[in-house]
């Protein structure tokens, strides 16, 4: 009975928001945003961990909740989502934007699913859903600046997803089984984990906005509404960090050099966050620096874990706590700032330079696209055209027609002569 209950709860947790995302299915329900969170809440209330295998799903997937980081994160997530739901809920007199609710629920489903996933593909699937869902949240009903920022985010998301996809492929090719535990074990003993590690590290670093890859984070914080900023701090970044923990064979593998570099980067990130954050005048962006700082801390810890597996095993729980509290901390800050601003500051003016980083990114992308366009659109079809389509023009050529005409006329006029020549020809050939 208990297993049935927990299994159905596990499935319902991501499924219910997903279903409710269809407007038709929730049109009669009051406050669907909250209802969608119910299974997760009940799941949190269950005393022990639970898991369920779904071999028919995707490539054989599963859902589960473990005692440690998963539960923590789930709890934080639920909390954050409830706050966000409250913030998003329209004030009296305003009509609810139905689409935003849908986006909200989609993102929610992705988030909860990613937290509960027990294998790489499941995690990947849900986090992708969450990523795109989150993008829609960012874009919905905002101004140009935030849209541009969101577009940068989207590109980051795609690139990161691609890298992670490769990573999953490599893992599958090496391990054959995509359960987190199996992957960690196998990758830990793998002879050449380099590419996998690189993909996972860069992929999640992009998603989490770890220091040198944080360029998308600032414009977003600068432009979005509080509710979305709250989620931004808590949800995608936290899930990305969770990805590090789940995907990397931490505690199984010892890579001192890489660990040192990562540690260094983490420290650099912290320094950067502090320096830049202090110089930063806009309150609104402050949470971004805090997020960068926190990810820096986590990165440093992870680097340490990579160089010294034993230490990781010992202090791993600490990292989990960090992830969990990061979400909470940033979220509270955002809410606080929002509240502060709402009380005392006038609304921030739209930023002129809505993120330099976003601009250079677009610039390069545009240049690349133009180049590709020139290469692909201009040269190849022309090559092809020469030998197939232009055949028609060749056919219209006057000389052809004249040659055919005169040939036919000649044949008609010298009919008998031709016969004679053929006759001779046959005789000659034969004799």
């Amino acid at each position: 009975m208990n297993t049935v209950l927990s299994a159905s709860l596990l499935i319902l947790t991501p499924l219910l928001p997903l279903l409710l995302a269809f407007p038709a299915l929730r049109s009669r329900l009051p406050r669907p945003c909250y209802i969608a969170l119910l299974p997760a809440l009940i799941l949190l209330a269950l005393p022990q961990g639970a898991s369920i295998d779904l071999p028919w799903l995707l490539l054989g997937s599963g859902l589960g909740i473990d005692g440690g980081v998963g539960r923590w994160l789930l709890a934080i997530s639920v909390l954050l989502w409830m706050v966000a739901a409250h913030l998003l809920h329209p004030a009296k007199g305003e009509s609810a934007d139905d689409r935003v609710t849908s986006y909200y629920l989609l993102t929610l489903a992705g988030n909860l699913g990613a937290v509960l996933a027990t294998d790489l593909v499941g995690f990947f699937t849900f986090s992708t859903l969450m990523g795109y869902g989150f993008y829609t949240l960012l874009v919905a009903g905002e101004d140009d600046g935030s849209r541009r920022a969101a577009r940068t985010y989207l590109i980051v998301l795609i690139v990161a997803d691609l890298m992670l996809f490769e990573a999953v492929l490599i893992a599958a090719a090496t391990a054959g089984n995509l359960h987190f535990e199996a992957v960690r074990l196998v990758m830990g003993q793998s002879a050449s984990p380099g590419l996998y590690l690189l993909m996972v590290l860069v992929g999640f670093a992009l998603k989490a906005g770890v220091w040198p890859l944080h360029f998308w984070l600032l414009p977003l914080f600068r432009t979005t509404r509080p509710a979305v900023a709250l989620l931004l701090g808590g949800i995608p970044i936290a899930v990305a960090l969770l990805g590090f923990v789940r995907w990397l064979p931490l505690g199984e593998i010892s890579l001192p050099a890489l660990g040192l570099i990562i540690q260094g980067m983490g420290v650099a990130a912290m320094l950067y966050a502090i320096l830049a954050g202090v110089r930063q005048a806009q309150l609104k962006i402050l949470p971004a620096y805090i997020a960068i700082f926190a990810t820096g801390v986590f990165t440093a810890a992870m680097g340490a874990g990579l160089s010294n597996p034993a230490a990781w095993n010992r202090y791993a729980d600490f990292a989990y706590l960090l992830i969990a509290s990061l979400g909470l901390g940033v979220a509270l800050l955002v809410v606080g700032i929002g509240w502060l601003r709402a009380r005392s500051y006038p609304p921030a003016l739209p930023e002129k330079q809505a993120g330099d980083s976003a601009l250079w990114f677009e610039h390069w992308l545009g240049a690349a696209a133009r180049w590709a366009a020139q290469m692909g659109v201009e040269t190849l079809p022309r090559l092809r055209a020469v030998w197939l389509v232009k055949a028609g023009a060749l056919w219209q050529c006057y000389a052809w027609q004249r040659a055919l005409d005169s040939g036919e006329r000649f044949l008609q006029r010298w009919a008998c002569a031709v016969t004679l020549f053929l006759l001779l020809g046959i005789l000659v050939v034969f004799i």
Partner: protein, 498 residues
């Protein structure tokens, strides 16, 4: 002739006979025509289902009619053909519904539906062909049945597109014919055999076999729109939307891709092909096609044209999956045969809906269309994400197996092709979605038609929703029994079994 020998014939007849009858129906007999069409489609689906069940339980379905001395007209249902037959049957049913709605009130419908049925007959024939000559027969029939559909509108553009189509396909068919005859003179048989019938051939020079391979692949590559033989496809999108849908998803391009699968697997045999050294060039061509098609798609403003280039890119996945010699990649290629069909047909349905309901043909006109037609655009979104390869949709599964297979076969470069393609896919699909959902709509649509309370007619709306649902389902339930993925695995175990 017993039941199992007659079944493949019945499957063919279930669309052929209605098609022939429809030709002679007067234009205004709409109800008769529609019910004939639908009855045929449902019947075909049922028959295909029966066959799938039978094959899974070890039965054989084979019809053999003498064609030439030593060469039979052979229809045989094996696991690979059933994959394609079932796909065609399902999508035909859906497309029929759609076409009935789409063409309501337009002229020359009897002609259209007649050729439509012929087209599906040819496709199913291609699927069921048990030897190369039967394949060739239906392959050419497909060319002929499709041409009237492409030029159906009768405009100058349509005629030009039809002409281009013919130039390409007739030339391709000719190459195929040469290759087939040559092969026959060398091998003395043309019957598809698992793991090929050429590897055991003594004395045939491998040069000749390589040339034949090139001929066959070139002939099939025209329909599969491999570069540089793809020129007809973007032009052919002038056809009515159901035709484009069928053309891109099932009939023409798939017939080409399916043929390549057949040639590589059941004529040459994958191991023998690899020995001959022809698979790597094929893989490179496919890879180039993938990238090139996506690049071209990026810069199209016409929605259907963009989708057409996307097809060029996507169909090459199938070829790529085959050309990477390995069981896992093969699964990816085969499953993409189905998945691409389901996804692409959704996209074309949606494009058709936009054109038919709002008069939208260009992407630049699509701003905010998601608010006007949320269901259509939802379906479009799902399919587009599927194309990009976002999990858990259909495209993800294909790419997954392709990538995994490439790694398995030690061809890591394919991974980067996949990644690049996904990136480009995202590059040309996401702006559409963005425009549709988030941009503010223009004041008026180019040519709006009212459909009462609904966003568009039922017959237009239901098909894309069904196929979008399928896109989701085949990805999500990929591991369930009888899913395309499982079936593709079933096929590859046969091919790669030792």
């Amino acid at each position: 002739m017993n039941w199992s020998a007659a079944l493949p014939l019945f499957v063919l007849a279930s669309s052929l006979l209605p098609g022939l009858v429809i030709f002679f129906l007067p234009e205004e007999r709409v109800a008769t025509r529609s019910s004939l069409n639908l009855a045929g489609a449902v019947l075909k689906l049922v028959l295909a289902g029966v066959m799938v069940w039978g094959i899974f339980h070890g039965s054989h379905f084979e019809t053999r009619l003498p064609l030439l001395p030593g060469l039979d007209l052979l229809l045989r249902a094996d696991s690979l053909s059933m994959l394609f037959v079932v796909l065609s049957s399902i999508l035909w049913l859906v497309t029929t519904v759609y076409a009935i709605g789409y063409l309501e009130g337009s002229p020359n419908r009897s002609r259209f539906f007649g050729f439509f049925s012929l087209c599906v007959t040819a496709t199913v024939g291609v699927a069921l062909a048990g030897n190369l000559i039967t394949f060739l027969l239906f392959y050419e029939l497909l060319t002929l049945a499709t041409y009237p559909l492409i030029v159906h509108r009768g405009t100058e553009v349509a005629r030009r597109a039809g002409r281009t189509y013919l130039i390409y396909t007739v030339a391709g068919g000719t190459l195929l014919l040469i290759g087939t005859v040559w092969l026959y003179t060398l091998a003395g048989t043309l019957e598809f055999t698992p793991r090929g019938f050429l590897s055991t051939l003594d004395g045939a020079s491998s040069t000749a076999l390589v040339i034949i391979f090139v001929l066959l692949i070139a002939g099939l590559g025209v329909k599969a729109a491999l570069i540089p033989l793809h020129g007809w496809l973007p032009q052919a999108m002038v056809a009515p939307a159901p035709v484009s849908a069928l053309l891109h998803a099932v009939a023409v391009v798939k017939a080409g891709a399916f043929g390549i699968v057949r040639v590589v697997y059941d004529v040459y045999g994958i191991q023998f092909s690899a020995t001959l050294g022809v698979t790597l060039p094929l893989a490179i061509v496919a890879a180039a096609t993938i990238i090139y098609g996506s690049m071209r798609a990026l810069f199209q403003d016409d929605l259907k044209r963009r989708l057409a280039f996307s097809t060029i890119s996507q169909v090459a996945y199938i070829v790529l999956g085959i050309a990477i010699v390995g069981p896992i990649a093969a699964v990816g290629g085969l499953v993409h045969l189905v998945h691409q069909g389901v996804m692409k047909i959704t996209l074309f349905f949606c494009a058709g809906n936009l054109a038919e309901t709002l008069g939208i043909h260009k992407i630049s006109e699509m701003n905010g269309v998601g608010r006007r037609m949320p269901w259509t655009m939802a379906a479009f979104t799902i399919a587009a994400f599927g194309m990009i390869g976002a999990p858990p949709l259909a495209g993800f599964i294909s790419k997954w197996y392709l990538g995994l297979g490439a790694l398995d076969a030690g061809q890591g470069w394919v991974i980067f092709i996949l990644a690049g393609s996904s990136l480009l896919n995202a590059g040309y699909f996401l702006p559409i979605l963005y425009a549709a959902w988030f941009k503010t709509p223009a004041d008026a649509w180019p040519a709006e038609r009212a459909f009462g309370r609904r966003e568009t007619a039922w017959a237009l709306l239901a098909p894309p929703l069904v196929t979008a649902f399928l896109t989701l389902a085949v990805g999500l339930l990929a591991s369930a029994p009888f899913s395309p993925l499982q079936w593709a695995r079933f096929i590859t175990t046969l091919e790669y079994a030792e």
